[in-house]
């Protein structure tokens, strides 16, 4: 059997293993790249000058190997409102309920007074400013974690930049394939953070089928934390995997220690797919905030960004004081298999070894 791990993704990127780490931590990204995988650094929350600095920081440490930067491109926006207008839209019932939660769980006040006097939102202009940095720096890969990257494809390709798109529905994949996106990430419901409603095992083959004959590699995302998942993804026709939760508790990760412990202790049933934190549905580890907003006595969850304005004091206070009992983090349903705090290189080599074991098992069966 030829090397089952040497897929067209490896050819396209010049990497050893078809394992892509999505991370917000530069140290994790560099460690994955230098161990033979590929990494995409999430930079949606950063200003253009910070993004440029991070790109150069990575470049200095990966010896010319490729890497990617992920941005979140808005795909829909309501009419803009000022922070004052937004705050005035929060009903007293939800304010009172939030105060009850803060008191009931003795949530500490954030260390610094929240500066919420200059709400700007993340609008199209800001996303374009972030993109300009990626074009100026000619990063090897731009990944769009949400929103269609179709509008930027021509310019990116002129600069020799690959553009990747993450989708939660087959029809989104079809549009992106038609537009000329270079790699599609098919993300299932099992994933951390924002997801579609289709499970990983269902969406991946559908997107693979949609891309058949185009030469566009497909990555499987959502719940991927072991070599068995990688082997299954390859069996479904994917060219590799997009992983996130797998790296959160790694030695190199900048997630704080209590949260790493909580992640290691968590199982799939400890994650919640809920809109109570931000008003958007997303998968995160359960905390008292989830429990209270799921109560029959709870008022309606507010739309974005109002719910985020409500949850902010709880979230920030919990993080500032490392209150493990209160903290939450985006985590996928594969979190069961994140069981110890290992170095990135070991996580990657364990995954490769497990995958090869699976293929060896099938190969052995063929020989019988």
């Amino acid at each position: 059997m030829s090397d089952p791990l040497h897929t067209q993704l490896c050819e396209k990127l010049g990497i050893e293993y078809p394992i892509v780490a999505f991370t917000h931590c530069k140290d994790v990204a560099v460690a994955v790249i230098n161990a033979g995988g590929f990494a995409v650094l999430g930079e949606a929350m950063h200003a253009p000058d910070e993004i440029a600095a991070d790109i150069n920081w990575i470049r200095d440490r990966v010896n010319g190997k490729p890497f990617g930067i992920d941005l979140v491109l808005p795909a829909s926006t309501p009419e803009e409102k000022t922070l004052e207008e937004l705050m005035a839209m929060i009903p007293q019932e939800q304010r009172d309920y939030t105060d009850m939660i803060l008191k009931k769980y003795d949530v500490p006040k954030p260390k610094e007074e929240l500066e919420i006097a200059s709400w700007g939102g993340l609008d199209q202009k800001r996303a374009l400013d972030q993109l300009e940095v990626l074009f100026d720096e000619q990063v090897p890969v731009i990944a769009s974690g949400l929103g269609s990257p179709a509008f930027m494809l021509k310019r990116a390709h002129q600069l020799g930049i690959q553009v990747w798109g993450l989708v939660g529905k087959p029809r989104q994949a079809i549009k992106q394939i038609e537009a000329g996106t270079d790699v599609i990430i098919a993300q299932g419901f099992d994933a951390a953070g924002h997801t579609g409603n289709i499970g990983t095992f269902s969406i991946v083959p559908q997107v693979v089928d949609a891309a058949r004959g185009t030469g566009i590699p497909i990555l499987a995302a959502g719940g991927v934390t072991t070599g068995r998942h990688l082997a299954a993804a390859l069996a479904l026709g994917a060219d590799g995997v997009w992983t996130g939760s797998l790296w959160l508790a790694s030695r190199e990760s900048d997630v704080n220690l209590p949260m790493k412990e909580k992640l290691i202790e968590s199982s799939a049933t400890d994650t919640e797919y809920s809109d109570c934190i931000s008003g958007y549905t997303m998968r995160t580890t359960r905390c008292p905030w989830h429990v209270e907003w799921a109560s029959p006595e709870a008022p309606d969850v507010l739309k974005p960004p109002l719910q985020m304005l409500l949850s902010n004091e709880y979230i920030t206070g919990a993080n500032d004081y490392r209150r493990k009992d209160l903290m939450t983090e985006a985590a996928g349903q594969g979190i069961d298999y994140v069981t110890e705090m290992k170095p990135v290189r070991q996580i990657l080599s364990d995954m490769v070894e497990q995958t090869l074991d699976v293929f060896d098992r099938f190969s052995d069966d063929d020989d019988d």
Binding site: G42, A44, M45, A47, V72, L73, P74, A75, S76, T77, P78, E79, M89, E112, L114, E115, I116, S118, W119, G120, G121, L122, Q124, K125, R126, L128, D129, G145, L146, G147, S148, P149, A150, F151, K154, R155, G168, K169, K175, Q176, G193, T195, D275, S278, G279, Y280, T281, M282, D300, V301, K303, P304, P305, L306, M308, N312, T316, N319, E329, A330
Partner: protein, 102 residues
């Protein structure tokens, strides 16, 4: 993780310093078309994003951002929208739109 105070300040600065042009226009071919929008956005103040789904009617009005350009259409008469959505309209990225007869 949740840097809402920093993020809000930084966001405004980034937009103020933007050199990206915005122009508006009208596409009669889209006016009155029923469409769906696989929308969503970054969640301000966090590292997270959220998906949102809308269905409604396009007015044909659009805005172009930047030089590429990045085109956005105005959707009104919303028949499907996220729970708690209080606005009557939404702007949708053209690449995230699906016209009903497509």
């Amino acid at each position: 993780m949740y840097l809402i105070d920093f993020q809000m300040t930084m966001t405004t600065k980034a937009s103020e310093g933007s050199s990206q042009a915005v122009s508006a226009g009208f596409n009669p071919q889209y006016a009155g078309k029923r469409a769906e929008c696989d929308g969503g956005a970054h969640i301000a103040g966090t590292k997270y994003a959220g998906r949102q789904f809308f269905a409604g009617t396009l007015t044909g009005n659009y805005r172009d951002y930047g030089d590429y350009p990045w085109r956005w259409y105005l959707m009104t008469k919303l028949t499907q929208m996220p729970r708690g959505y209080v606005h009557e309209t939404v702007w949708c990225d053209e690449g995230s739109l699906l016209l009903e007869d497509e």
